[in-house]
Each structure stands twice: as structure tokens, then as C-alpha cells.
Symmetry: C2
């Protein structure tokens, strides 16, 4: 949508301060690095920074542009309709996207399937006649919430907005594999290779976007050519993207040109060294756990600003809750910084275990300051923890403490 | 989304013929009439006609612009992700929309609630703190499918695209009514009044958009300020719209400025004379049934063109099925014009009884001509009929015969 978007009523007071913060930001846009530099100020900003050409169609007023390849949704811009509009969905590219021309004729896009009994190359047109699945799911960057780590890890300082809930549509990978005679014996990983161009003179493994996930992730995975009812745009990995529901964003390989079942994980640096769970101060490597499955997490989206000022009376506190690999089954809200909790209610449709749910809680607030927090539990009994799991690069932050919103209620 | 949209592979051959049809069309844009003139050629066109200013943000390549106030989605542009993207959603205004400025400060919009024990005027900001519901539902114009009536009823010649499945978000009307002491005794209708400007010198009842629905429709109805995660745009009734799920589009009053519980139906012409189920040749009036609840209906969206030419082999036939007031529970597909039927499968999430579901059926087609049809049954046991219910103005066409797609399969 290109209509004028209005500043939400609750964000007006915060705008002046945020503008000042923006002016003081020394953003370093390292478009072709898998490890963007840490920014000097992790605070979200509501001012408008230009969108890159491939994402010009997005609603700049709902986004925070960190760099040409890292753009997040403002906390209050995610809406209350479960599905995140595409023009507000975050973008995170590890390297610059391929030329926009690859989406001019999407049906001609080709993908090799390897590591099956009958390896085969399909065009996207052929995939469209092999099966159809529509998969609602949370797409979330591994580093979402990184800004809250006190040791200031390198990388984009995402707050809550490197996440959205969308519906990807494509062909089930299990269907393709069955048609190709099944996975070859001994293969334990599913490895997707992105179609980004590798600059001349560089070691391909240093920049190639190639990710391996455990073979079991194939079960619900699809090759998607559509998102939220539209042909998959370049900004989100079109014409074809590997979608592995429940797994962090990087595992959902964009512009996917090869899907291979492999005995070992990809030798690419993005697999071997990046996206590893290592202790603070320790560089990641193959000996560390890979960042794959997402844990349960929730956050409040309305009121949305740390500096929100509200009038006393009933206030609807809203947010989103995801369960990771299992449905979110319970959501609690605290208005006293986590000292006490009350159960909130889920709002709107349940789109399945990989989607998030909206929640709402009505509180009758007297004048004063409040720390609003939310905490979800999934169907497997996992509860969102108070503390983040410390790690060097600031991955998978699902601490409810870190995601609190402070509000000021006036008479 | 503003990216270049590509002509779907299956529509390429149809484009040339459609362009010729477009050139020959004598479209009469009667922007301020509740009864647009019949067009001389009901055929859908895939060429681009300029969008009106208030809908400039829409994707022109996915739409058929009948007039400034009547714009439908192309059959093949609805996608396979259940939710219809806003930039592809149809538009039907009975009169021209109010000035765009009314969405500049949506929270200031006011609505009177009348016919309750404690009548009250709310601002939209106040409504937002009274409750929250997200409601997936089919929004469909009463005249969708009118183009297939052989007697050529007056009005826009909609084919299948005056319908979409979206998620509206707002406050339950039942919650408001409870807060205002309940409905006054003796009230049997819920009447919404639109905020359109009435041109000077006209009898307000001749143009006012004011619709009454039975009181029981209040149960699941909401006042919505958001659709698909975005603030409700002017083109779809923003800042505030009355949403009555399961009822045809006109009952979902845009720019709603008053909601009244009443003893009688609105005296407006749009209630008394329009949207009435009268015999062919007979003008509608209060003695005829009002167009309220929608019947079950389905149609094929892919392949999408009557002139589609496909290669022999497996073809995924896809479409949408809605149940009206109850969930669609079964979907059948025929490739021989309805002589024989096979059960298809629903694809993707079930968003609740008012939403539609996507379906898919894989057919292995040899060279030849095929008439593809779909037929749905809802949870109440109502099956989509072969024949339309004839009526003067061409409302509620849910005939499966009328919605067939003819395809040509080559070797």
C-alpha cells in the first residue's frame, strides 16, 4: 500500500527524541558483509531513511532502515491481523541480492535437486504442476533482539522487528523427493544454495549463501514462489525460496538454485563459522551448535514505544506470540515488570504451529509508570525465559525481560 | 507491492484477444449512481485502465477497472495463499468516497451508537481501547458473477473478481453494546450509515449509503480500523468500517459514522429498492427479500483463462471455496463440465467459517479441450448448485456451471 501512513497516536511523543537519536547514529552500511558492523546506537528510530531500489515498494514509514540489506519493522507497525503485510515485512540479506531481472520471468527459474536417487533440474513452471501447499509461518532473523545483548555483539542491532508472520505458497519438498526416488542413502542434511552472484576474485565459500539443516526439517519444508498471495518479490527471495518452517531466517535460502541432500554440512563460511552458538568473546566454528530451530517468544506491539504516554483508563495491550517448533498455547502479560502475571487471550485465527498468534489483554491503568511484559508457553511446555541465552553474536534472544515496554500513564 | 508483475504463464495466449475486447468496450463510468449502467461487453479484460486517485496504490496489472468505483481482481490474480493482498482486492463504491483527508487522523473519526440504552459517541481512539478481534472473512460484492446472467442485468459486469478473503481487525460490536447497557427493547435491525458526502439538492435517501441487517448479525460483527495488518485505507472504507461477516459487501458499510439499532429497515433507497431479490423484469422493492447472507460458492483460479492453452501432463487445478454462513467442508472438481466429479483437497490453513479455503486437484491431462468446474458443500450441508437463482439485478450468483473455465491442452 502506498497511502499516506499516519503516525500512530502513541508514538507521537517519542518522535522528537528518536529524531535526535537518528542524527547521532553512525550507521555503517556494509552491504556485502555477512557480519555488518555494530551500530553505535541500538535505539529504534521512527524517521525515514531511504529504502534501497529493490525494496522501494515498501512502506518506509513502518520500517527502520539499518542498511541497504537490513531493514526492520517498527514495533508498532506489525498490526493486529496476524499476517504481516509484505510492505512492512523486514528484509535481511547476507549479501546483495541478484539483479532484479531474475523475477521478470519467474517460471523460467531453474533449480537442481541433488542427493536424490534421480537428480533432476526443474523449472519453476514445472514445480507449479507438482503440488501446492500454503504455509503460514513466522519468518525471523536469527539476530532479532540482538540490540538487547549488553556486550553489544557485532551485526545489525535488531530490536523486535526482524520478524513477521506470512503465508508462503509452493510445492512440498517431500513431494519432489518422492517423485525423484527418495533421498540417497546416508544423507543427513538438506542443503540449499542461493543464487547470489559471487564477486570475481573471492573465495566462493567466503560469501556463498549456502545453508544446511537436518534432514528431518524436510518434513514441512517447501519451495515457495508466492508469499501472502503475491509472486515472491526479489526482496524476499523471489522467484524461488527454500522455506524451512520453524527455523531462523537464514535457513530459508533465497533465490534458491540448488537443493541437495548431503552427508556433511555446507563448507560455506555462513554455515561453518557464522550462525553458531558460541560463548561471548569466542568466535563461532563447526564445534558450536548451529542456529536452526527457533525458541518460543512473544512481545508487546501496542503500546509500542518505550516512551509512550497514555491517558489513565482501560488500555488494550496487544502483541504477538510464537511457539517455535510447536504452537503457542498460553500467553501471559505483566504490567509490573514481571513481578506478577495474568493470562491474556489469543485474538483471531490460529494459522498452525509455525505461525504466531495475536494476543490482547485489557488493563485498567491508573496514572504512573508501568513495565509491560509478555511471556508465552508452547504446546511442548516450553516457556519463554526471563533471561536471554548469552552468546557471542547475539542470536535467538527470547528473553521476556529484554522485550519489555515502559509506558507512562497520565491522568 | 509495486514491483513489476509478470503475466502468468497461462494467460499469455489470452492477452491479444482480451486487448481487442477492451478496445471495443463502451464503458460508462457513472461514479455516483447506485445502479451503474450495463456494459456492452461483459468480457473480462487483462489490459490496464487507469486506477482512480484513491486507489492508485493498487496493482493495476492484477485488476480489471470497470469504472472509478468498480474494480475487480482478475481471476488468476488472487493467489494461492488464502489471504487476498490489499493491492489486488476489488473495490466497489456505491457513491464516490469521501475526501481522502478523513484517513489523515483516523483516531479522531467519530461514530454515534444509537438504539442502545445509553447512546454514545466514540472516537476511533476510544474504540481501540474497548476490545480487539481479528476476523478472517470473504468480502464479496452482491453482484459478483452478474456477467453470467443471460438477461444482462444492469450494473457492473463482475465475473469472479468482486471477492477476496481478508482479515479485518477491530472491536466486537457485542462488546460495545454491552458497555452501553444493551440494545433497546423492540429493536430488530442493526443499521449502519456511511460517511459519504450527500451532494446538495439531492434527496438524501436517494443516495445515502445506509444498510440494515437483522439484529442477529451483530453476533460476530465488528467495527474495523485495520485490514490485513494495515490501517484501513479509504478505498476499503477507512478509517472505520462496519463488518458483518457472511453478508454481502454492501452490508459492510464504509466510513461508518453511525450504528443504530432500529425497529425498521433504513428508508434509504439502497435498502428499500436496491439489493432486493426480485424476478427478472421486476423492479426491486421492500416486498422482496433483501440481499444479506451469502450462499456457498467456489471457483477455479488456476488455470485462470477461458482460452488457456496448456501442455499435456499433470496440471494442478486450484481455486477458492467459501461456505457463506458455515465453513466449506467439501470441494469437488470436474474436468468434463460437470458430468463427473472428484473430491479435491483443501490447501493451507482454515481461517474459520467466514473465510474461504484454497483447494487443489492434480489432473493428468491428455491433449484436448476441457471444461473445468468446482463445487463446494458447506458444514450445514448446502451444496453449490448447478444453476444460478435468476433475479432481476443479478445478485448472489453461485452457479458452478456459470463459473467454469475452458482450457485447451496441447501435446
Amino acid at each position: 500500500m502506498q497511502e499516506k501512513i499516519n503516525t500512530p497516536r502513541r508514538r507521537v511523543l517519542a518522535a522528537a527524541g528518536a529524531a535526535a537519536a537518528w542524527a547521532g547514529m553512525s550507521t555503517v552500511a556494509r552491504a556485502d558483509s555477512t557480519e555488518p558492523a555494530a551500530q553505535s546506537n541500538p535505539q529504534p528510530v521512527s524517521d525515514v531513511k531511504p529504502l534501497p531500489d529493490y525494496a522501494k515498494w515498501k512502506d518506509a514509514n513502518s520500517l527502520i532502515v539499518h542498511s541497504a540489506n537490513t531493514i526492520e519493522t517498527q514495533r508498532g507497525a506489525v498490526g493486529s491481523s496476524v499476517i504481516t503485510p509484505l510492505n512492512r515485512l523486514f528484509i535481511r540479506n547476507n549479501v546483495s541480492p541478484p539483479p532484479a531481472g531474475i523475477t521478470d520471468n519467474p517460471d523460467a527459474w531453474q533449480i537442481n535437486i541433488e542427493g536424490v536417487r534421480k537428480p533432476h533440474t526443474f523449472t519453476l513452471a514445472q514445480l507449479k504442476d507438482m503440488g501446492l501447499q500454503a504455509l503460514p509461518m513466522v519468518l525471523q532473523c536469527s539476530g532479532n533482539g540482538r540490540a538487547y545483548f549488553p556486550h553489544k555483539p557485532g551485526g545489525t542491532q535488531w530490536t523486535v522487528g526482524a520478524a513477521g508472520c506470512v503465508i508462503f505458497t509452493g510445492v512440498p519438498i517431500a513431494t519432489l523427493v518422492e517423485a525423484l526416488g527418495g533421498v540417497q542413502d546416508g544423507m543427513v542434511y538438506m542443503t540449499g544454495t542461493g543464487g547470489e552472484e559471487i564477486p570475481a576474485g573471492l573465495d566462493p565459500n567466503s560469501v556463498r549463501v549456502e545453508r544446511s539443516v537436518p534432514l528431518e526439517a524436510m518434513k514441512d519444508a517447501i519451495l515457495a514462489w508466492e508469499v501472502n498471495g503475491e509472486p515472491l518479490p526479489l526482496a524476499h527471495g523471489g522467484p524461488l525460496r527454500l522455506i524451512v518452517p520453524g527455523y531462523t531466517g537464514v535457513n530459508n535460502v533465497k533465490y534458491v538454485k540448488q537443493l541437495a541432500f548431503t552427508k556433511a554440512q555446507s563448507p560455506a563460511s555462513i554455515q561453518q563459522n557464522s550462525y553458531r552458538f558460541s560463548a561471548v568473546g569466542e568466535k563461532g566454528g563447526p564445534q558450536h551448535e548451529s542456529i536452526w530451530e527457533m525458541p518460543p517468544k512473544s512481545w508487546i506491539t501496542s503500546p509500542s514505544s518505550p516512551d509512550t504516554s497514555l491517558k489513565a483508563g482501560p488500555v488494550v495491550i496487544g502483541g504477538v506470540a510464537m511457539g517455535g517448533m510447536d504452537s503457542p498455547s498460553k500467553i501471559e502479560v505483566s504490567i509490573d515488570g514481571g513481578k506478577s502475571w495474568q493470562e491474556a487471550r489469543f485474538v483471531g485465527p490460529d494459522l498452525g504451529k509455525y505461525a504466531w498468534r495475536q494476543f490482547a489483554f485489557t488493563a485498567d491503568l491508573k496514572p504512573g509508570r508501568y513495565n509491560l511484559a509478555s511471556r508465552t508457553t508452547n504446546a511442548a511446555g516450553q516457556t519463554q525465559p526471563a533471561e536471554r541465552a548469552e552468546n557471542n553474536r547475539g542470536y535467538n534472544n527470547n528473553s521476556w525481560q529484554d522485550h519489555m515496554v515502559e509506558i507512562n500513564v497520565t491522568s
